[in-house]
């Protein structure tokens, strides 16, 4: 038997929650603390629904879907309560969407839009905006934090760096790095898992600030160039400027499940570095001069041919690279073996 959501029938997979069934079938239920990776938290309470035969409102993120269950996600009672909940959340911080980096990519915005909340109705926002830019790559704006706990869960249970936690209680609850240290002085390793999980603009990549609205950036998946784990990552690109603005981990990758380390997430300045060589160089009298490809290829070819002729193929050796693609490695060793005629090919794998 299927499950019924708002009168429509849906198949369910074992163990799935009502929220998961709904989202899978493009039925939106506001949800701010649930994330597929950190799982149910039951903290925001925005995901409430009604279930026939059950008393009261139930949070759908931790409600296991059962066959024959009749769920309503959009009754007046549900939406009225959701509206208060989300309005209170929106009112509790400084959600200045126009200037927020997360604008357009914010789950709180989505929920407010769905519920028709135009502006916060309650006077709850703290007087002061509290930001923390003490760390290298991550900017924290606590006045936007909705205490959903995703970052804390991620830091504690996913990357297991155990830096983030909650401090204080009640309305004063705030995220804390170690024991309320500035992020830059804590044991944080700047892996950015928290950034990736934050549904709002409370923890963001500091280097993306002011460098492009989310909807203007194109996303391309590729593989991290650093260590051998081979994390899948997604680069957010400004096409016009031909620049990488930010990097996120690919959540459904079996290799890294969305996680990255500080190098993979933030260490990509080298790509657009001013130090990149943009023209072939030939050394003359101990100094490099620029050359073009049409000149340099025959120049190299001539030299190699001469050495091969005079000293034999084995007087030439080549180091291929653990940083280039399989195809390029293949081409390189083929070049050494078939064109130079030597097996003198190796790379710095073991170094």
């Amino acid at each position: 038997m299927p499950i019924f959501i708002n009168g429509r029938e849906f198949e369910l997979k074992p163990g799935e929650t009502v929220l998961e069934v709904a989202l899978r079938n493009d039925i939106y239920i506001p949800h701010l603390c649930f994330h597929p990776k950190t799982g149910k938290a039951g903290k925001c309470r925005a995901c409430i629904v009604e279930v026939e035969g059950r008393r009261g409102l139930l949070t759908s993120c931790n409600l296991v879907a059962e066959e024959g269950m009749k769920v309503v996600t959009d009754s007046k009672q549900v939406k009225d309560a959701q509206k208060i909940i989300v309005d209170l959340i929106l009112s509790s911080g400084h959600h200045d969407c126009l200037s927020c980096e997360q604008n357009g990519n914010c789950e709180l915005q989505d929920a407010a839009y769905y519920l028709g909340i135009e502006r916060p109705s309650f006077d709850l926002a703290p007087a002061e905006i509290e930001t923390d830019n003490s760390s290298e790559f991550i900017f924290v704006d606590r006045s936007k934090c909705i205490s959903c706990g995703r970052c804390v869960e991620g830091c504690t249970r996913t990357v297991v760096n155990e830096v983030l936690n909650f401090a204080n209680r009640g309305f004063e609850t705030r995220i804390s790095f170690d024991n309320e240290l500035p992020m830059g002085e804590s044991t944080c390793v700047q892996c950015g898992e928290c950034v990736q999980l934050c549904p709002v603009g409370a923890i963001i990549d500091s280097r993306m600030i002011g460098r492009g609205r989310t909807w203007e950036l194109e996303k391309v998946e590729t593989v991290c160039p650093y260590c051998g784990v081979g994390c899948k990552l997604e680069m957010h690109v400004d096409r016009q400027k031909n620049e990488i603005i930010r990097v996120t981990g690919v959540e459904d990758s079996p290799t890294n499940e969305g996680m990255l380390c500080v190098k993979g997430r933030y260490g990509f300045d080298f790509v657009s570095s001013q130090d990149r060589i943009t023209t072939p160089l030939i050394k003359e009298n101990g100094k490099f001069r620029a050359a073009d490809w049409a000149e340099v290829i025959p120049y190299v070819g001539k030299k190699l041919k001469a050495i091969k002729k005079e000293f034999g193929s084995d007087a030439i050796a080549g180091l291929t690279s653990a940083k280039v693609t399989n195809e390029e490695n293949f081409a390189f060793q083929k070049f050494m073996r078939s064109e130079i005629g030597t097996n003198n090919v190796d790379h710095c794998a073991r170094l």
Partner: protein
């Protein structure tokens, strides 16, 4: 062990500290020393004695007399009159009904021994027939028989929710697990409530005996008592009780050669109100931040360290020995149909005789106030009673004849647990009372879920506005609406709690609110 003639309990709390209780205590010790009474009279510091605004107060055992509003100058008189000559200095004691004062806790089951036996002496407890039930349970009954007996007795949880204790045990008892736990909830965080404290102070062995029987019944070989850190005296008495029980072979390995092992450990609480909620309590016990867990799984199936764990209130468990000893039928002779046994109340506020009483379930509130609380203090007019502590209801005169049991209180049933009754006379402003209730919850919201933490904050702002004369009548509706959403959607019962006080205050005492809007 040293034998003392008297024990003086000096309440150490904010108000007594402000009144200079420390100097008072030093002066008292000096005075006693002067009269060579040091070996006869024992001074103990305890947490608040639970009387509102009574400055330095001192409870004298075994007489059970409470001196209040003490001053340094009174010391010589009290020492020479009371401690040397044995004459109570009536002018300084708590305003009791009359001279025919009889400080009996109306004890029936739970408080039967309190103030009668020396709580630090296991022999005295055994002398009253103590630990017979344990022996009977362990040697003559199967665990499932005990569970059945408790089920039959109709005993319901005294920690708040009123869940049938036997039924709760029956979920855990059959589970096969490497380890199960019993946890005694002695966190007693409800303001103005100190029934559990006095139960543990007055008769710690009875709680111990209950723990033994309950642990055996559910198959727990380890029991914890999760107790407020302020309850210093309870803790020391419980420690003594555990040591003595071990010495007598009532605890430990292979008890009475039955093959059953049991160890009891005391865990000091984290000091937050929400840590009284059973799943938050478990989190806190595990060393985590004390915030509630989602249910299911229920603790009875997956509790402390993921093992089946039964959490029961002190009072609930203290009822158990008598049930086992005398049988379910006997127990059902107390109280009313569907709500058996007795209930311990803390009566506070504008009554003549604030304190503790144990009465049958189903006793009318009016009777409790008049007979056990000694009626209104100074014969002032009754205005309201806040029943059930901060999460309780504001009852007006009209509702005074309500019977105090889970069924009669019906929608208000949740308030019964803590057993706190705060009586207010006509001068009390309900706006102020509700303000302090909301302030309490705002302070105690753990911050785990958004409706509770944000809701309490906005309610606090709204009540402050009203209090400052800036409120509007429509704010009352908004408060009700928000409290209702909090009730419907909060993660744990703490966030649900404000609806009752807010609703009952606004509905029953609307005038007080409108008064502030003029």
């Amino acid at each position: 062990m040293k034998f003392y003639r008297s024990h003086l309990l000096i309440g150490i709390d904010d108000s007594s500290l402000q009144a200079g209780v420390k100097e008072f205590e030093t002066a008292l010790r000096n005075e006693l020393a002067k009269h060579n009474l040091t070996d006869e009279i024992n001074i103990l510091e305890t947490g608040t004695l639970g009387y509102f605004g009574t400055g330095i107060s001192m409870l004298v055992y075994p007489e059970q007399v409470t001196y209040v509003n003490l001053k340094l100058e009174y010391i010589p008189e009290i020492v020479s009159e009371h401690f040397l000559k044995g004459r109570i200095v009536h002018k300084y004691i708590l305003d009791k009904l009359s001279s025919k004062y009889d400080f009996n806790y109306q004890g029936r089951i739970v408080l039967k021994n309190s103030g009668v036996i020396d709580p630090e002496n296991i022999e005295e407890y055994i002398g009253t027939g103590g630990y017979e039930a344990w022996e009977k349970a362990l040697l003559e009954m199967k665990p499932e028989e005990i569970v059945a007996e408790v089920k039959a007795s109709g005993l319901r949880g005294r920690g708040g929710a009123g869940f049938p204790a036997g039924l709760k045990w029956s979920f855990t008892q059959p589970l096969a697990a490497e380890q199960k736990y019993l946890v005694i909830n002695a966190d007693e965080g409800e303001p103005g409530t100190f029934k559990d404290r006095l139960i543990m102070e007055g008769d710690p062995h009875k709680l111990m005996e209950g723990i033994m029987i309950a642990s055996y019944a559910i198959g727990a070989t380890k029991a914890y008592i999760y107790i407020r850190g302020e309850y210093k005296l309870c803790i020391s008495r419980l420690r003594k009780a555990i040591d003595q029980a071990k010495e007598y072979g009532l605890l430990g390995k292979n008890i009475f050669e039955s093959g059953f092992d049991l160890d009891v450990e005391i865990k000091i609480g984290a000091g937050a109100y929400v840590c009284g909620e059973e799943t938050a309590l478990i989190e806190s016990m595990e060393g985590n931040r004390g915030t509630p867990r989602s249910k299911p799984p229920f603790p009875g199936v997956k509790g402390a360290w993921q093992r089946p764990t039964v959490v029961n209130n002190v009072e609930t468990i203290t009822n158990v020995p008598a049930i086992i000893k005398n049988g379910a039928e006997w127990f059902k002779g107390f109280g009313v149909e569907g709500c058996t046994g007795t209930k311990v109340y803390t009566i506070m506020g504008d009554v003549s005789m604030p304190g503790l009483c144990e009465v049958d379930m189903g006793t009318e509130l009016r009777k409790i106030i008049n007979e056990f609380g000694g009626g209104m203090k100074n014969n002032r007019k009754f205005k309201a009673a806040l029943v059930g502590g901060a999460a309780g209801v504001f009852l007006s005169e009209k509702l005074l004849d309500v019977k105090m049991d889970f069924n009669s209180l019906n929608e208000y049933a949740a308030v019964l647990g803590s057993g706190a009754i705060l009586v207010m006379n006509e001068e009390v402003d309900i706006v102020e009372m509700l303000w302090s209730v909301i302030r309490f919850f705002r302070h105690e919201s753990c911050g785990k879920c958004s409706p509770c933490s944000n809701g309490n904050e906005i309610l606090y702002k709204l009540i402050n506005n009203i209090r400052n004369g800036e409120g509007k009548e429509k704010d009352l509706d908004l408060m009700l609406h928000i409290a209702a959403v909090m009730n419907d959607t909060s993660f744990c019962a703490l966030g649900e709690s404000l609806l009752l006080p807010v609703k009952s205050a606004i509905e029953n005492f609307r005038e007080d609110f409108l008064q502030r809007m003029k």
